[in-house]
Amino acid sequence: MKEAAILFSGGTDSTLAAALALERYDRLHLLTCTRFGLFRPEHTRLNADKLAARFGRDRVRHVFLPVDGIFRQVSYGRYFHYLLKYGFFNLSTCGLCKLAMHLRAAVYCVENGITDLCDGANKGMNLFPDQMDTVIEKTRRMHLKAGVNYTTPVFDFEGPQDIDFADKLHFEKVPFLPSGDRKEKEEARRKTTGWKLYELGLMPSDNVKGTELDRSMQQRCFQFILFNIWLHWYYMPGKSYETYKADSLRYFSEKMADAGALLEEFRRDRERSLLHRLTER
């Protein structure tokens, strides 16, 4: 039986990644990581149930994995060193949280004999370090240390066309304002994760991002706010995206090296390893 695991947040990207994986694998483990500061993990059951109903209940296994200990280690291990070297980069909570989830997923895969792991990383979310192609490549190499093959099946899908603040104001309702090229918008819509999910019958419309339904299918977390304040108000003024991407890669390369060492120790020493002790079950 071909098995794989997926980091499952319950959102549209990871749901589509799960749906695509279920077309290739006999059984899929949906791994939802929980920790202090992530609220309403039960929301993720909504799309997990839809996937189970669509592809077969015996083919989908949904598990909740607490990552408090690993997240603390990833964020605060050698903290003084990181603080002096990278300063406020240590507020990249979203990237660090995702790194903790990757470590927990790797442990799960090793313990359950699974060699394939994927997630819903998407190029449309490239301000988050964990969704940058360069950081994803580092993550892939880190997973190889645990013998796990990590892929991002929905990375090249487009994000929704109207997720911007201005779009949510529905300017098209005002008759005297131009509404843009409708044909072009229509074509772009067909390349999104939302459209594919709609085609598969897993979503009621092709763009649910930012809607009440979107909020009711994934965990709620406000820690990106502190990251956003740092990024948009403090760090970015006067800098380009390329500089930010390069700095992020430098920071996360070192974090990944630490995480990779934890994984190697886990593979070697299992119960005696630090990662094993940090892993809540």
């Binding site: 997240f71 964020s75 104001l169 300017f171 309702k173 820690q223 706010i225 108000w233």
Partner: protein
């Protein structure tokens, strides 16, 4: 001027955040999140109201 104000404000907000232990940082972010959400929703509601009224006027 606005950039300098934002940068200074962000510096102190981030300085507090970066010195906090992780659970406290989570709660701190949560608080910032609620404040942001309150401001954002007010902003969106007011702008939506203006757009609705503009639309109504244009249709008349």
């Amino acid at each position: 001027m606005l950039v300098i104000f934002r940068k200074t404000l962000a510096f102190f907000i981030c300085l507090a955040g970066v010195l906090m232990p992780w659970r406290l940082r989570c709660l701190y972010s949560e608080l910032l999140g609620w404040i942001t959400q309150f401001l954002y929703l007010n902003y969106v509601s007011v702008l939506n109201l203006i757009i609705r009224e503009l639309g109504r006027e244009a249709r008349k």
